[in-house]
């Protein structure tokens, strides 16, 4: 049989993307389409005293202006409903909870006219002092997330005092680490087109990581049956967690389109996106570690403070990864949360693990220095065989191999231990490393396979490809199972009429979907009474049937409940620092990752590279600030919200190690995506310490912090 899985295949959707043929949500042209432009709050706390839409309504081309006084019909979702980023419905009332909150929607026959008229809507506010400063906020115990409580304690902390657990420790470290607000800033902005074909059915062209979820949410909020909503989302120009559920602008667009009885497009501007389509909360974390002389951890205490919004209670789950990484008899985890006048924080590439591991992996580095033990060695000595909260053994864990292979590929043994000891001309050179880890998630999914007389196979499922390479791995899975070349497999994704392919979130798409594709392929061959597709095509022609088709689903097995599943990795990097002028560059990068079986070495490596780049952005430059007086973000576009340019990024070497994880699923694959960003910022900061002797515990490491 042809060997396709594990080879390097260019993405199937590459050509249509680079030629512009791929049609993204807001690019759908529908006759009679009109444009909506959002009016957003310029204060961060208070209420609308008066809103004057007269001038806007009188402007040429204006079709409608919606405010809280004429909210288009939106239904309250049922109890326990979670398919929304903001709990508050758009235009629900006159209250303002954060700057950038939607207070109106102006609809006109052109975008320019809509934008112009939106600028003419005059809102008078009753303003109250907003709170946007994390340092000044009041914190309380964080709520649980996905049923997991953040409070956790094991071992001896009887008096609530860390010193008990660590009394006879050889080394102790305690430090506080902070990270700033980051915004997702995907290349494709948040944008959609809503088209009502009749009173009970609407098609929504919108980038969404979860078409079936969006379908349900819209149906519920619009008061129509689920089948009445069709979501079309074949391409997504980046999401990173910010396109999993409908945002208020989407709900408003679909509801307003029903009211005006025309296809309506709403595009959120870059400026607006800094405030109302999600961000990662700032974090403040205190790590206390205690260890024996040999480096064995005696105690870990990890406390985190994060912030949320009046319109959503979302704790950034920083402490979740700590019990996964290092073994210790005494562990205490705690999280607190404060409400600020900001938009809803949400999932952003490795929510929790990412900032959590900045703290943990920086602290481990500090401990290594304290003990005078190599940081790679310190991690190896503390590896845990089981998940310390779930009390389950890890399946197919190759963490140590990641560390060792990474050290070897990087040339870690050449490292001169002392900070400030490596030089390259006048530049200080630093080497740093950090572990990488992310849980392996899997849900159930369904896929359909059709074999057609023209010798092609079609795979159909509602799952989507948000730039990750899903089209390609689905095609590869089908091609290998059916005995066809990849080019003969056509993949259709991102449409809610297709079988439920699950959600592209939590890096679970490949692990969730490919087993279903495998099962559907096997089933269609059975139906065709054939060993492979060429045989099936012969049978098909003989039988005169139009097609063979089969649908199959796949879900986590009972057997899999005996294990904890996680992906692993290690990052090694080099930085140079021109100390006098505070100029820092990342000059070398090696990542070694264990994700079970690698389906497509090319797109898998791309996932890691993209994540490392995003992590370098977090380490060095990304931060969204809010004006302390008005609560309005002072970052307004992609020139003011810095993320890495090419010049900031060195060659990134990516290696995979390990074996197929068949305990997890029949394909042996775990997800690859978010794992790549975890540990990146710590690796950079650890390298900066090695270069300069300066420990920078607050991200991003901008020039001012290096002076």
């Amino acid at each position: 049989m042809n060997q396709i899985i594990g080879t390097s295949v260019s993405r199937k959707d590459g050509r249509v993307k680079v030629t512009g043929e791929a049609t993204y949500g807001a690019e759908h042209q529908i006759p009679g389409l009109v444009h909506g432009y959002l009016v957003t709050a310029t204060i961060a706390n208070g209420r609308i005293h008066n809103i004057d839409t007269k001038e806007a309504e009188d402007n040429p081309g204006v079709i409608a202006v919606f405010t809280h006084r004429n909210q288009p019909k939106i239904f309250q979702p049922s109890n326990g409903f979670f398919g929304l980023y903001e709990s508050r419905l758009p235009l629900a009332d006159d209250l303002i909870h954060y700057a950038g909150q939607i207070v109106g929607l102006v609809v006109a026959n052109t975008l320019e006219r809509a934008r112009d008229a939106a600028h003419l809507v005059k809102v008078q506010y009753q303003t109250e002092q907003p709170q946007v400063e994390a340092q000044k906020a009041t914190y309380q115990k964080a709520p649980s997330l996905f049923g997991e409580d953040f409070e956790f304690q094991e071992g001896t902390f009887e008096t609530g005092d860390f010193s008990i657990a660590s009394s006879d420790a050889a080394a102790k470290t305690e430090a506080t680490y902070t990270t700033e607000i980051e915004i997702h800033a995907p290349m494709e902005p948040h944008a959609l087109v809503a088209h009502w074909e009749n009173q009970d059915s609407v098609t929504v062209y919108e980038p969404t990581q979860w078409v079936k979820g969006s379908q349900r949410t819209y149906a519920e909020l619009l008061g129509i049956p689920v089948e009445g909503v069709r979501i079309i989302s074949p391409y997504i120009g980046g999401a990173f967690g910010s396109k999993a559920f409908p945002w208020p602008h989407g709900i408003l667009c679909v509801a307003a389109a029903r009211e005006i009885q025309r296809p309506l497009k709403v595009v959120v501007s870059r400026r607006q996106m800094t405030a109302n389509t999600g961000h990662r909360s700032q974090t403040e974390q205190t790590m206390r570690l205690a260890a024996n002389k040999d480096g064995k951890l005696k105690a870990i205490e990890h406390t985190a403070k994060t912030c949320t919004s009046p319109v959503k209670n979302f704790p950034e789950p920083c402490t979740g990864i700590t019990p996964v990484l290092y073994a210790t008899p005494n562990m205490r985890l705690k999280q607190e949360i404060a409400v600020l006048n900001v938009g809803a924080p949400t999932f952003m590439r490795a929510p929790g693990e990412n900032p959590g591991m900045f703290a943990l992996e920086s602290a481990m580095d500090e401990l290594a220095w304290e003990l005078n033990i190599d940081p790679v060695e310190l991690r190896l000595r503390n590896e845990t065989k089981e998940h310390q909260r779930k009390k389950l053994p890890f399946s197919a864990k190759h963490f140590a191999e990641c560390l060792k292979t990474g050290a070897e590929k990087f040339g870690w043994s050449q490292r001169q231990m002392q900070p400030r000891s490596q030089k390259q001309g006048d530049l200080l050179v630093g080497w740093g490393m950090a572990s990488s880890a992310f849980p392996a998630l899997r849900s159930s999914a369904e896929a359909q396979v059709r074999l057609l007389p023209d010798g092609t196979a079609h795979v159909l499922t509602s799952a989507n490809d948000m730039g990750t390479g899903a089209y390609t791995v689905v095609a590869m899975t089908a091609a290998e199972t059916l005995g066809l070349p990849v080019a003969k497999v056509k993949v259709e994704l991102g449409d809610s009429v297709l079988p439920n392919g699950g959600m592209a979130g939590g890096s679970q798409m490949t692990a969730t979907l490919t087993p279903a594709v495998l099962a559907a392929c096997q089933k269609v061959l059975e139906t065709a009474n054939a060993q492979n597709a060429p045989e099936a095509f012969a049978n098909l022609r003989e039988s005169g049937r139009a097609a063979y088709e089969a649908t199959a689903s796949s879900a986590p097995s009972e057997e899999s409940k005996k294990f904890a599943f996680n992906s692993w990795g290690a990052h090694f990097c080099e930085v140079t620092v021109d100390e006098e002028i505070a100029r820092l560059r990342v000059t070398r990068w090696v990542s070694v990752i264990n994700i079970g079986r690698v389906l497509n070495s090319k797109t898998a490596a791309s996932q890691i590279r993209g994540a490392v780049i995003m992590g370098i952005g977090q380490a060095l430059m990304e931060e969204c600030h809010f004006d302390p007086n008005t609560g309005y973000p002072v970052v307004y576009d992609l020139a003011t919200y810095h993320y890495p340019a090419h010049a900031d990024i060195p060659r990134i070497e990516v290696n995979f190690v390990g074996e197929p994880d068949f305990n997890f699923n029949p394909m042996g694959v775990r997800g690859v995506g978010e794992i790549g960003i975890t540990g990146v910022s710590a690796a950079v900061s650890n390298a900066v310490y090695h270069a300069t002797g300066k420990r920078i515990r607050s991200l991003p490491i901008t020039p001012d912090k290096l002076l």
Partner: protein, 331 residues
């Protein structure tokens, strides 16, 4: 946004006369700054006078041995011009340190010198701003002011000029040639941009209706020693936190001539004349460079978040001078 007329004047005179008779008209050249501003309602012109097709695209050698650069020469063309690269390497480097290749392909000399501040409070009409609307206040002074001015600001405005090219021009003692209805006049580059004082709405001393037609560079015998050092939050495609242009003429042990200009620190490209004077006659060594840096920043004042720029500027000056003393190049 009001509707506006789009007009292509057929000559410099035509452009100037239209702009003079209509105070709400605006010139547009490459459009890379103005179009962005129009979209967010920072400018609401009555008409756009598209000057981009006028004949101001030459780079010519002057009788004195300098260069006369037409106002419509693109940033890319100027940076890559062989005379500029050979005789004014610091100008070429300053331009290439700015924006992106795509933007530089469109951007013109005149437009670059006239680009407006990137102060986020200026950039969003949700905020009051004395520069945008006189007498409404300056929220940047008490807000997030990490990128704001440390020199020459007023209580009405703490914005900085974002142009890299201007820093090089001011260091090279350039002169602007401008045309009004009354005819041409010349403005020394140092006097072109203004400090905010009580009128932050005015960036420059260009009179209403006047069009920049050219920039004239005098010959600078020691321009080879030119350095442009730009320090910023990412390696490329970011405005300067601090930038420094330097050049030195050193003969034997002694400094004969010195140029120091700073960007990203004030409402105008900042020429550090006193520091230059200090250096003349002194040895080109570290301690003199340190003192020059101290002198250049002696009047600097920090706001809540930009104090680091004072130290960063000093270090950048020291470094740039050291490289200039070695004969110039990348710093």
């Amino acid at each position: 946004m009001k509707n506006f007329a789009y007009v292509r004047p057929n000559s410099v005179e035509d452009a100037v006369s239209r702009a003079t008779s209509d105070r709400d008209a605006l010139f547009i050249a490459g459009g890379t700054n103005l179009v962005d501003r129009l979209k967010v309602f920072l400018d609401e012109p009555s008409q756009l006078l598209d000057v981009s097709r006028l004949a101001m695209k030459q780079i010519a050698t002057t009788n004195e041995g300098g260069l006369k650069i037409g106002a419509l020469v693109t940033n890319t063309a100027l940076a890559n011009n062989i005379d500029v690269r050979n005789n004014y390497p610091l100008l070429s480097r300053a331009i290439l340190a700015g924006a992106s290749q795509q933007i530089r392909n469109m951007a013109t000399v005149g437009g670059n010198l006239m680009q407006r501040t990137r102060c986020p409070y200026y950039y969003d009409t949700a905020f009051p701003c004395n520069k945008r609307q006189p007498d409404t206040g300056c929220p940047a002074a008490t807000g997030i002011n990490r990128i704001h001015a440390i020199l020459g600001s007023s209580d009405r405005c703490v914005a900085v000029n974002p142009s890299d090219m201007s820093v090089a021009m001011v260091a090279l003692d350039a002169t602007l040639e401008v045309q009004g209805v009354e005819g041409k006049r010349e403005i020394p580059f140092v006097d072109f941009h203004r400090l905010p004082g009580n009128t932050p709405e005015r960036d420059t001393n260009l009179e209403p209706g006047e069009l920049i037609t050219a920039v004239i560079l005098p010959p600078v015998s020691f321009a080879q020693s030119g350095v442009y050092l730009k320090l910023r939050d990412r390696a490329s495609y970011a405005f300067a936190l601090v930038s420094v242009a330097t050049a030195l003429e050193v003969s034997g042990e002694q400094i004969k001539n010195a140029r120091i200009a700073l960007g990203g620190v004030a409402h105008k490209p900042w020429r550090a004349t006193e520091a230059e004077e200090f250096l003349i006659g002194k040895a080109a060594n570290k301690s003199n460079f340190e003192q020059a840096a101290e002198i250049a920043l002696k009047d600097a004042q920090a706001l809540a978040h930009n104090g680091f720029k004072i130290e960063l500027s000093k270090r950048a000056i020291r470094r740039a001078l050291a490289v200039s003393a070695q004969g110039g190049g990348e710093a």
